[in-house]
C-alpha cells in the first residue's frame, strides 16, 4: 500500500460522510487545513496564483459526472511531476493523485468526478524539487457519491474493462499529442444500499491507472471512488521522438484485483 492509498483510507475513517448543516466559510477553511495536514504533513503549500488553475462548472448538471481540469502555466509546466485533486466535502476527499512522467505535458489534465455536497475543489501541483502549488474552486453539486450513474446495467457489465482512446489531430509535431482515454468501469462507491438485504453494494473502483508511451510513463493515477463511472481522462504527451510512430498503453488495477490493459498505435505525425 502506497502512502497516498493509506491516506485515502485515513480520510474515509476520519471524515466519513456524516450529515451536517451547510458549513460556514471558516469551517470550510478549517476543513481544508485539516486535509492539507493529513495529505501533506508540515510541507508548505503555496497559493498558485496564476500558475495553476482548477476548472469545473460552478454548478454541475450531474453531480456524478462533474468534469474537472487542472491547468498549469507553460512556464511552470515542465517542472510539474504530480497533481493532487482534493474534493474537500466528499466522503473520501483525496479524489486523485497523478504522478507524471517526464514525457507528460503538464499544461492540462482533465477527468470527471463525483461530488457529494457543495464543496471546495483543491488542486495541488507538485514540482520535481518538492514545491507544492495550490489552486481552489468552489462548486455547487450534491448527491454524486451515493447516486448511481449506471443507466444500463447489462451494458456496463458487458463492457467492463474495455477502453477507448482518441487522438486529436496531430498535424504539428512540435505540439504535444492530445489524448482522450475512456475506461468502462462502474467505479462504484460502495455508498449505495440494496433495500432487499439492507447491505451496502460493495465498492468496486479503479485503484491505479498506468499510461505509457513506448514503455515510458506518461502518468500513474492513484484514485478511488470519487472518479466518475466510466473514468475519462484528457492528457497531453510529448514523446522523446516527436514525430512518432509509437504505442500508448493503459493498464488498470481495480479494488477487486482485476487487471485490464489495452494498447493503441500512434501513427507517425506526418501520416495523420
Amino acid at each position: 500500500m502506497t502512502r497516498s492509498m493509506a491516506i485515502f483510507l485515513l480520510v474515509i475513517l476520519t471524515f466519513g460522510g456524516a450529515a451536517r448543516a451547510e458549513p460556514t466559510e471558516a469551517e470550510r477553511m478549517a476543513r481544508w487545513s485539516d486535509l492539507r495536514h493529513a495529505i501533506f504533513g508540515d510541507r508548505v503549500v503555496e497559493d498558485a496564483g496564476d500558475l495553476v488553475a482548477v476548472d469545473a462548472p460552478a454548478r454541475a448538471e450531474d453531480a456524478a459526472i462533474v468534469p474537472v481540469a487542472i491547468r498549469v502555466a507553460g512556464t511552470l509546466a515542465p517542472e510539474i511531476r504530480g497533481f493532487y485533486l482534493i474534493i474537500d466535502d466528499n466522503p473520501s476527499p483525496l479524489a486523485a493523485h497523478f504522478l507524471l512522467g517526464p514525457i507528460a505535458d503538464a499544461r492540462e489534465i482533465a477527468t470527471r468526478v463525483r461530488i457529494d455536497d457543495y464543496t471546495y475543489l483543491h488542486a495541488v501541483a507538485e514540482t520535481a524539487d518538492g514545491r507544492l502549488y495550490m489552486a481552489a474552486r468552489f462548486i455547487k453539486a450534491a448527491g454524486g457519491c451515493s447516486a448511481p450513474a449506471s443507466k444500463d446495467q447489462a451494458l456496463a457489465l458487458e463492457r467492463l474493462g474495455k477502453m477507448k482512446l482518441s487522438l486529436a489531430d496531430r498535424s504539428k509535431p512540435e505540439e504535444p499529442i492530445n489524448v482522450k482515454l475512456l475506461i468502462s468501469h462502474p467505479n462504484s462507491s460502495g455508498l449505495q444500499m440494496d433495500p432487499a438485504t439492507r447491505n451496502y453494494i460493495p465498492a468496486d473502483f479503479m485503484q491505479t491507472l498506468d499510461v505509457t508511451y513506448n514503455g515510458q510513463p506518461i502518468f500513474r493515477l492513484e484514485s478511488d471512488i470519487a472518479i466518475s463511472e466510466d473514468p475519462s481522462f484528457n492528457f497531453r504527451v510529448r514523446p522523446s521522438d516527436p514525430t512518432g510512430p509509437g504505442v500508448i498503453n493503459a493498464e488498470v488495477l481495480d479494488s477487486n484485483q482485476r487487471h485490464f490493459s489495452q494498447s493503441w498505435p500512434v501513427p507517425a505525425a506526418a501520416q495523420m
Binding site: 450531474d62 449506471s150 443507466k151 451494458l155 444500499m193
Partner: protein
C-alpha cells in the same frame, strides 16, 4: 387516471407528478403505477374503492422512477402481485434507497409510509394479465427511458399505456439509452392503437402521432451530441450546442435538457 402536474416533487404535490391509474375487469383491478408517494397511492386506492370492491390483483410498476412507484406500499393489504420488468429488481437495488432518501428530503412528513416495494412477478419479454373479460398485454422493453421500461396494451379499448416511454409536453428524461429509446420508439409506433397514455402529459393522446415531438427531440439530441463529441466540445459545455431548436417546445426544458445531453454524451462517446 390521475393527470400528473408538470413540476418536481414537493410537499404540496406529494410527488403526484406522473400519470397513473387503473384498469377494471370483470373479476379484478390492475393498478398501473401506484404513484409517487404512499399518500398518492392511498388516494388512488380510495378512488378505486369508490368505484368497485373487486380485488386489486395487480400493481404494475412501469419503471424504477420514484414518481411512478413510491405509492406501492399503499396496496400492501390487498396482497397484489407487484409486476415489473425483469431488470427492475437490479435497478431498485442500485437506486431505491437513494430515491427514498431524496423523496423524504423533498416531501418531509408527506413521504410518510412511502417504501421501496420489490416486484413479485417479473416480465422479461411479454406477459398477459387476465382481469376477467379484459386482457392486458405487458411488454418489457430494451434500455430506453430507463433499462426497465414496461408498457401495457389494453385489448378491449385498444389503449396503449406507454408510461414514460412517451412524454408529451414535458421534456423527456434520458435515463436508459438514447439510441435504445429511438429503437423502441420505432417499434412501438408500429403498433396500432386507438389512443395512448403517456407517463407525462394529457392522459389520452392520439397514437402514434403524439410520439412525433419526442422522436424529434431525441433525434436532435443524438445528432447534435454526436457532432459536439466529434468537434471536441467537452461534456460540460455540449448542451449549449445541442437541440437548441427544441427550446420553447417543452416544459421544464432548462431543468432537464443539460442533464439529458450529459447522459447522451456519455453514451455516444463510446461509438
Amino acid at each position: 387516471m390521475h393527470n400528473g402536474v408538470h413540476e418536481g416533487a414537493s410537499p404540496t404535490n406529494g410527488d403526484a407528478i406522473a400519470n397513473i391509474g387503473f384498469i377494471l375487469g370483470d373479476d379484478a383491478v390492475a393498478v398501473i403505477d401506484p404513484g409517487g408517494s404512499a399518500r398518492e397511492g392511498r388516494q388512488l386506492r380510495a378512488a378505486i374503492r369508490a368505484l368497485t370492491d373487486r380485488p386489486i390483483r395487480y400493481v404494475i410498476l412501469t419503471h424504477v422512477h420514484p414518481d411512478h412507484i413510491f405509492g406501492a406500499a399503499a396496496f400492501g393489504d390487498d396482497r397484489p402481485d407487484y409486476v415489473g420488468h425483469a431488470k427492475l429488481p437490479g435497478a431498485l437495488a442500485q437506486r431505491g434507497d437513494y430515491y427514498l432518501r431524496r423523496l423524504r428530503e423533498a416531501l418531509g412528513n408527506e413521504a410518510e409510509g412511502s417504501e421501496v416495494v420489490a416486484p413479485t412477478v417479473l416480465v422479461s419479454d411479454r406477459l398477459d394479465l387476465d382481469l376477467g373479460g379484459r386482457r392486458l398485454t405487458l411488454r418489457a422493453h430494451g434500455p430506453a427511458h430507463t433499462d426497465n421500461d414496461l408498457t401495457i396494451f389494453d385489448e378491449k379499448t385498444r389503449t396503449f399505456w406507454l408510461a414514460d416511454l412517451l412524454f408529451v409536453d414535458r421534456i423527456p428524461v434520458i435515463d436508459g439509452s438514447l439510441v435504445g429509446w429511438l429503437k423502441e420508439l420505432r417499434e412501438v409506433t408500429a403498433i396500432p392503437a386507438d389512443r395512448a397514455v403517456p407517463g407525462h402529459g394529457p392522459v389520452s393522446v392520439q397514437w402514434p402521432g403524439a410520439a412525433e415531438p419526442e422522436r424529434r427531440y431525441l433525434e436532435a439530441v443524438a445528432r447534435d451530441t454526436r457532432a459536439a463529441i466529434k468537434a471536441g466540445v467537452g461534456i460540460a459545455d455540449a448542451w449549449r450546442h445541442v437541440a437548441n431548436s427544441e427550446r420553447g417546445r417543452w416544459l421544464l426544458f432548462d431543468d432537464y435538457h443539460p442533464r439529458n445531453v450529459t447522459a447522451a454524451y456519455k453514451e455516444l462517446e463510446w461509438e
